[in-house]
């Protein structure tokens, strides 16, 4: 039987990354994710992997570029300001079609902000983040179990589509402790197939070039259009979400990560009072689960978007529903975390007094 362990969310990420067969970590300390590099430095040493504490997040993402271009699973973690520094590198990595995993344990912003949990990096995560036309596959965990399991999924998706993958957590998820069921099936890094694009020295084959530029007239346009085809495939195949109590709902709350846990409690409060309320939790933020929204908006009158930001995902909800439904919003920016009674009050506001 699989072992169950009480773990910090940040520690669950580390064990999940190692279980996924990743043996390369480069990163720079920043709160609230310091437990990741700390435990990683110990665990990589134990299992013969690579841990590099870098001079900056800029160096970290470029070390990932090198390690992943060499065909190895490679990851870094940081928090919001550090992720901003990585955007140049992520753009180059996306432009070179190289799979990497970046974990953002989001904190309050903008600027140095604070070290409290936030979801205000949603735009950055789901709109590429750096310069140029590109997207990163973005997963939104809401438990320590997800933080353990998502690294493997992220690597598999990243490699399947040759695209960077992000895990968008937050300070609360990283710092809280929850039981985690550990997997019996650990990925052996030596069992991973060699990629036909990886750099390893050209013995016995044509030399390979990993790059993100093409100055020949029209060629970059063609390359970008091919990448758009790839994105269309991802959009079609990889939309993930969790829908609870939505079938008979008069109002559906839309929330991911920590907000989905808070909203889950609010839904129960509302159901106890006789309100027909459901919860739709996007698991992939990019690709956003557009299809389920398109479908639900034909019968759901009200959506209540709950975010730890001034309102970013709400744009995607409006786009996905094509504004057929009424879209309400409750947001707590700058490190604020909504409570279930607070969300319940918003439900009451929309649906009227006690039923």
């Amino acid at each position: 039987m699989a072992e169950k362990k009480l773990m910090y969310g940040n520690h669950a990420i580390v064990e999940g990354v190692l279980a996924a067969g990743c043996r390369f970590f480069a990163g720079y300390p920043i709160t609230p994710q310091n437990e990741i590099p700390e435990l990683m430095s110990i665990r990589m040493n134990e299992i013969g992997g690579v841990f590099v504490q870098t001079g900056s997040e800029v160096a970290a993402i470029n070390m990932l570029f090198g390690a992943a271009a060499a065909g190895k699973r490679a990851m870094t973690s940081s928090s919001s300001p550090g992720i901003s520094l990585m955007q140049e590198g992520i753009s180059y990595i996306a432009g070179a079609d190289i799979p990497v995993l970046v974990v953002n344990v989001v904190r309050g912003g903008p600027g140095l902000g604070n070290i409290a949990p936030a979801q205000s990096d949603y735009y950055q995560a789901t709109r590429g983040g750096g310069h140029g036309d590109y997207f990163t596959i973005t997963l939104a965990p809401n438990s320590a179990q997800d933080l353990y399991e998502f690294p493997r999924l992220a690597f598999e998706l990243a490699e399947k589509y040759r695209n960077p993958a992000l895990i968008l957590a937050d300070g609360l998820l990283g710092q809280m402790m929850e039981p985690v069921e550990l997997s019996d099936e650990l990925v052996d890094p030596n069992s991973l197939a060699e990629n036909e694009w990886a750099l390893s020295g050209c013995k016995g084959r044509e030399r390979r070039i990993v790059r993100s530029y093409d100055l020949r007239p029209g060629k970059l346009e063609e390359w970008n259009l091919r990448r758009i085809e790839k994105y269309e495939k991802i959009k079609k195949n990889e939309q993930r979400f969790e829908a609870t109590d939505c079938d008979d709902a008069d109002l559906v709350i839309v929330a991911y990560g920590t907000c989905s846990r808070v909203s889950d409690a609010a839904v129960k409060m509302a159901r106890d009072k006789g309100f027909k309320v459901g919860l739709l939790r996007p698991i992939t933020l990019w690709p956003f689960p557009w299809d389920v929204f398109a479908d639900m908006s034909k019968r759901i009158e009200n959506f209540l978007v709950v975010e730890m930001s001034c309102g970013q995902m709400i744009d995607d909800v409006k786009l996905a529903t094509e504004c057929r439904s009424k879209i309400h919003f409750h947001g707590r920016p700058g490190g604020g975390v909504p409570t279930p009674p607070e969300v319940y009050k918003e439900i009451e506001k929309v649906l009227g007094g006690a039923q």
Binding site: M63, A69, L199, C202
Partner: protein
């Protein structure tokens, strides 16, 4: 008929797009020859910079990667740590290494990463059109210092070998110049040492090569060669700035 001179197998057949009198071609040839002489071409991964030599990824006949401006030493670290059996070199210009990538080169040197860095210092930004580099000499004209670099407003050049020699980390640091056949041979010797150090797992080696940019300098190739051997060498003294093999003896 016996062939006595030809293109080394370490370089591709692609025509190099450098200007007449540019030093990149000389250094490319040295590296291309060394890849063959040291029998490392098939296990080498090269890193091309941003600048005129961005196209180095097409010119070197080995696996290549082209990272963001200045980040070569970080990318090299990721490559070398995951593929220690490979030989990893980072080819960088003065804008790449001494402006945008100062943090990356300093930390790679401090960690004594087992990589080889070739630093081309021609005191100007070539590809973008002759702007001031961090290594532009005091009083030297560029398109962003049209009356000559004003040290009162634009500060002083950076001497990279001397700066890195203040660190305990690096294993080998040398500055050469490619103005005369004798100095080209000296440059080849330094680059060979830098590759051998990596092959022998000794750690970080950097060879700074003072080079020409006739187009950016507004000179003819012959004038540029002369100015390189005089003004540049005067400001950037040649020599070995670190050789830890001497300490080991």
């Amino acid at each position: 008929m016996k062939k006595i001179f030809g293109r080394p197998a370490g370089l591709t057949e692609i025509l190099q797009r450098y200007c007449p009198g540019c030093g990149h071609g000389i250094v490319h040839r040295i590296i291309g020859e060394l890849l063959v002489k040291l029998d490392i071409r098939e296990r080498t991964i090269g890193i091309a910079p941003v600048g005129c030599s961005v196209f180095a990824d097409e010119y070197f006949n080995c696996d290549m990667i082209q990272p963001p401006h200045g980040r070569g030493p970080a990318v090299a670290t990721g490559l070398k740590r995951t593929r220690p059996e490979c030989i990893v070199f980072s080819y960088q210009g003065d804008g790449d290494l001494a402006a945008m990538g100062t943090a990356e080169i300093i930390h790679a040197a401090a960690r004594n990463e087992n990589i080889t860095v070739i630093f081309i210092n021609n005191a100007i930004f070539g590809m973008t059109g002759g702007q001031m580099a961090p290594t532009t000499l005091p009083g030297m004209k560029s398109t962003t210092s049209v009356k000559g670099r004003d040290i009162g407003k634009q500060g002083y050049p950076i001497r990279v070998c001397e700066m890195l020699a203040s660190l305990d980390g690096p294993y080998y640091l040398e500055r050469c110049v490619v103005d005369t056949p004798k100095n080209v041979i000296r440059s080849e010797k330094a680059l060979k040492t830098a590759f051998m150090n990596q092959i022998n797992n000794k750690g970080f080696s950097l060879v700074e090569i003072l080079s020409t940019c006739p187009t950016g300098w507004g000179q003819t190739p012959i004038q540029a060669k002369k100015w390189l051997g005089e003004a540049m060498v005067q400001y950037y003294p040649l020599g070995v700035y670190r050789d830890r093999s001497k300490e080991e003896k």
